[in-house]
Symmetry: C2
Subunit: 312 residues, 2 copies
DNA sequence: ACCCCATATACTCTCTGTGAGCATAAGTGC
DNA sequence: GCACTTATGCTCACAGAGAGTATATGGGGT
């Protein structure tokens, strides 16, 4: 065993919805934007989750509801810079355990450096609700086309960015980010190579500290994928909601529009929602009935919902 | 930060098939059966996977093909006993990163303490290929029925062990093991409480060192679940195989029988297999055509196969 | 009071994938 | 040649998903 000390960094992707905007809790640090994170303390924390909840409360003071572990990142060279972690030494090796947490609303963080940020600020190419994003078609794809000069690269590009008839797979957020990283299109890549250019280039989404954008990509991909087979969405909804609210929430997370009638049918036939007597305050047209999550929808292992994509 | 030193244990569930027997690579240590594992060395290992491959080679000398991370277990009280880990001190805190690895065949391990073991040795209640296992109906369920004396416990029991009309969900291997652990039916529970009774009770499956049976349960559940949406199975098959071989392989992993015709139809319509000119040496009836995995089936993100369960 | 507009909600039609059974082909052993 | 075994092909029924059209129910303007 070498002399390098191990440090486990706990990272929380805390997600919530603000109307049609999917948000993630971010903390502004001296060196840039980051997820709430801190070192796991083996003496004080009996489990990872206990440590995580403590950090989130300390750094953002937002209640943490549903929590699930995402992945443990241990690659050298992409770990957290020590500068921002207290009580670590240059020789320490930092590995990151990423967590996904869901909250039913964006409660304003009590700490002023913490803030709810629309996650498409970090991944503008992931939002297809108004059609293919122009940053993708005009900016990213031409550059990736130049980068993909081998058959292997072309195949990966085709598969992850839905070229040549391949359908867009919304859950492959990490694949796409990693491809942009490898192609040197995101500022984190140059930074990890040791370049000190402080050009905060946000043209391809806002960069984050350390490997936090990678963790965020993992979280969004996991959340998008999980909607299909677990009723996890109701962890992000208020107690009462209209079916349109629910659809807008799903669309916000997935980044594309759904077929309204089929979405509703699948919800009701799956028994995930129950109508209440209450009727929503009108929003210009016929008032909508308010629904709530059924008992089934709140169970951990219930099936999710079908997500009928709207076609052109 | 306290004085406790952190140690990351890397654990490999290496799975392969021997005909209709799903096996996992196990190592016999002085204190019992274990998965290949060892401490991650932050000085020597650039990534977790590098460390993992090194341990597996050292302890079993079996080539490691497909590998994926499972979960990181950090709970106090269920970590690895220090006794078996070199260079650790009593105050050290050990967390386990579990990995799943797949091999196309059970190559005999070069180390004599390593061995391929049928995984139903550890989870006899998971094998429904010949109907409901008697150890479940005669032994486990009566005991669990006594244990489930609250509404909450009853609900969990119903859901994970398919009581009262709930269908058996093959991927919930961990849920079932954890329930048996909580109910005090597996020897690991008493051991973790500090009881020193060395009664190696194997009536409810063979126990393992530390939390290794939990990691194994996670791995089997992940593998079972992933079959449906990724063509991962072909990582465990030889280059050429008959469709019956393939079906037996799936049945071995899932632990239940499939509907032959529908399974074949789904395979061919999904384009996962290609017929070759070769015909298998006859096994008593009409000789079967040999197939191989298609290019599609070898891609990482291709869809999996439908698993049409055989009904009575 | 009436009409127009916007949104919510209901109904229908079609197509495909899946569950299930039956029929036929091609070997082996006696 | 016959019985048996395993492989392979075909068909029917049905449920669910995709997609479009029609009807209810509110608000606001004239």
């Amino acid at each position: 065993m070498s002399e390098h000390r191990l440090v486990i960094g706990l990272n929380a992707v805390l997600a919530a919805l603000e109307g049609p905007s999917p948000r993630v809790l971010c903390v502004e640090r001296s060196v840039g934007w980051a997820l709430p994170f801190g070192a796991f303390d083996p003496g004080a924390h009996r489990t990872f989750e206990i440590g995580l909840r403590q950090f989130v409360e300390l750094q953002a003071d937002v209640p943490l509801g549903y929590v699930e572990q995402l992945y443990t990142f241990g690659d050298m060279g992409r770990e957290a810079p020590r500068a921002v972690m207290r009580d670590t030494e240059p020789s320490d090796r930092v590995v990151s355990v990423g967590y996904l947490g869901l909250a039913p609303e964006c409660v304003p963080p009590a700490i002023d450096r913490a803030q709810w940020v629309d996650w498409y600020t970090y991944f503008p190419w992931e939002d297809w609700r108004d059609g293919a994003p122009s940053i993708l078609t005009d900016d990213i794809l031409p550059k990736l086309d130049v980068w993909a000069d081998t058959e292997d690269r072309r195949a990966r590009l085709r598969a992850s960015f839905a070229l040549e008839g391949v359908p867009w797979e919304e859950e492959r957020v990490l694949d796409r980010y990693e491809l942009l990283y490898e192609a040197g299109l995101v500022p984190e890549e140059a930074r990890d190579r040791g370049e000190t250019s402080r050009a905060t280039d946000e043209s391809l989404g806002r960069p984050m500290l350390s490997d936090h954008r990678r963790i965020l990509a993992t979280a969004i991909g996991r959340l998008r994928g999980k909607l299909r087979y677990r009723p996890i969405l109701f962890q992000m909804m208020p107690e009462h909601f209209t079916l349109t609210d629910l659809q807008l929430a799903v669309e916000a997370i997935l980044g594309f529009r759904l077929h309204k009638q089929n979405f509703r049918r699948s919800l009701e036939s799956a028994g995930l929602v129950e109508k209440t007597d209450i009727v929503a305050a009108s929003t210009g047209g016929r008032p909508a009935a308010l629904y709530r999550a059924s008992a089934l929808a709140l169970e951990k292992h219930s099936p999710g919902m079908t997500l009928p994509r709207m076609r052109q």
